[in-house]
Amino acid sequence: MAEITFFFIALCVCVFALLSVLSRDVFHCAVWLALTLLSVAGVYFYLDAEFLGVVQVLVYVGGIITLFVFAIKLTAKIGDKSIVQVNEQTLAAAIVTAVLFYLLFKVIAVHPWVSGPGSAAVVSLKDIGNSLLTGYVLPFEFISLILLAAMVGAIVIGKVKK
């Protein structure tokens, strides 16, 4: 019974991802992408990684998809006509994709996957917070600096020139 839940969520991810890639209209692609990311958050919740799932929704869907949508709407050319789905390199692409798929399939099928409740460590929120400020403090501060630089850069670029 537990597998049915997982298969449903995984099916959602695959279907929405496919729809996102195959849509003709860019705005539709963005919407399907949002649903894909929400389904991935569902996978995280299923695996008891609640903090990760919540942050996935907050950052990806709440922030990044909003950014995509604004970018699509403010650059009128992208949103106008439908995207061309095929070009003259279809045959070569099909061959490469088929070979890649076969290789990946072989690798995954040969590997002895352990199927069962799994022994993933359940990381509590306290541990994440602690490690962010003790073990991983350097990457944490570095990322904050990058974000600060991005914000300052955006404000400078967006300022009205007097």
Binding site: D48, E50, V57, V61, G62, V69, F70, P117, L125
Partner: protein
């Protein structure tokens, strides 16, 4: 990972069914109550004929909306237009998962409760934008873009004020935050009182209510982003707005006023009293203030509320670490 037939899941299913029933009734009640409160503030009576003092008016309105013709605007992007109400209603309903209605009535008390609510309600932005875009109407598009900009701007002071509460309580879980208020409600502490004010202002902007209701301004943009929706789809937007109002008020009651804690009466009664008290406060402010302009609103969020919230956070943290 989860056994679907275990006791935990069964209690979750029962709790969520009760809460779904509560949501529908509460939305209807809130629509009626808003009309009555606004009427009495304006020295008039409001709905009086259908039921005692018009209490069945919401049911009559729902029946009317069900019977309306479903008009799809010409040139609208059909799939986007049709999907938009879902993106607005589903996150509102999902946020009820972690709201503690009583001492032991929570669908699932996640240990990231408050963050869950904030993240799920930020999916509404996409829904509003889709509604504005899919209508193929420049007023709807303007309303949708303004609303999206407003919501993401006011999420920042909202989260910053909530973080002060989290620091004080030491946990993100909603029941944990209520337990931490056993010795006194959080609003009685000065830095948390400021956080409450910031939270109240930001949440009023999050649910698109006056004074921040530019996106659905009735006299400015037709009806804003839900202009082209008729019948049940419009009812979905309406219900989502009032459900969002209830969620932010319930979260305020939980974070700052002690949730379901109270002396003699059953805990669910205290919770509902506090939530509806904050909703009354929100309605009271609605009928007092005029609407702010779009640039004033953005300036207020970025130039005033965010610095004040950051300062509050800084000072609270400093006092906590001393």
């Amino acid at each position: 990972m989860i056994d679907p037939l275990s006791v935990q899941v069964r209690s979750m299913v029962i709790n969520s069914s009760v809460i779904l029933g509560f949501i529908s009734i509460s939305a209807m009640f809130l629509i009626w109550w808003e009309r009555k409160v606004s009427a009495h503030i304006q020295n008039r009576l409001g709905p009086m004929i259908v039921g005692w003092h018009g209490s069945l008016q919401s049911i009559a309105d729902t029946v009317k909306l069900l019977l309306k013709e479903n008009i799809v605007p010409a040139g609208a992007d059909k799939m986007i237009w049709w999907l938009a109400p879902f993106f607005v209603v589903v996150p509102s309903v999902m946020a009820f998962v972690t709201i503690p209605f009583a001492r032991n009535f929570v669908v699932h008390d996640l240990n990231v409760g408050i963050l869950f609510i904030t993240s799920i309600t930020s999916v509404c932005v996409l829904g509003i934008f889709m509604a504005g875009w899919g209508s193929n109407n420049k007023y709807s598009l303007l309303g949708g873009m303004r609303s999206a900009a407003q919501i993401i701007s006011y999420e920042v002071p909202l989260l910053l004020s909530v973080v002060v509460v989290i620091m004080e309580a030491g946990t993100l879980s909603m029941q944990g935050i209520i337990q931490a208020q056993e010795h006194g409600w959080f609003i009685l502490k000065p830095n948390l009182a400021i956080a409450f004010v910031i939270y109240f202002i930001s949440s009023t902007a999050e649910v698109n209510r006056v004074p921040f209701d530019i996106p659905e301004a009735e006299s400015e943009l037709g009806a804003g982003y839900h202009t082209e929706y008729t019948g049940m789809k419009f009812a979905m937007f309406f219900v989502a707005e009032y459900t969002n109002l209830f969620i932010v008020s319930a979260v305020a009651a939980t974070l700052f006023l002690g949730g379901w804690q109270g002396p003699f009466l059953p805990s669910v009664f205290w919770f509902l009293l506090k939530s509806y008290g904050i909703i009354f406060l929100s309605m009271w402010v609605r009928w007092t203030l005029p609407r702010v302009r779009m640039d004033q609103m953005m300036g207020f969020a970025w130039k005033f509320l965010t610095p004040v919230a950051l300062l509050n956070l800084l000072i609270s943290g400093w006092f906590m670490l001393r």
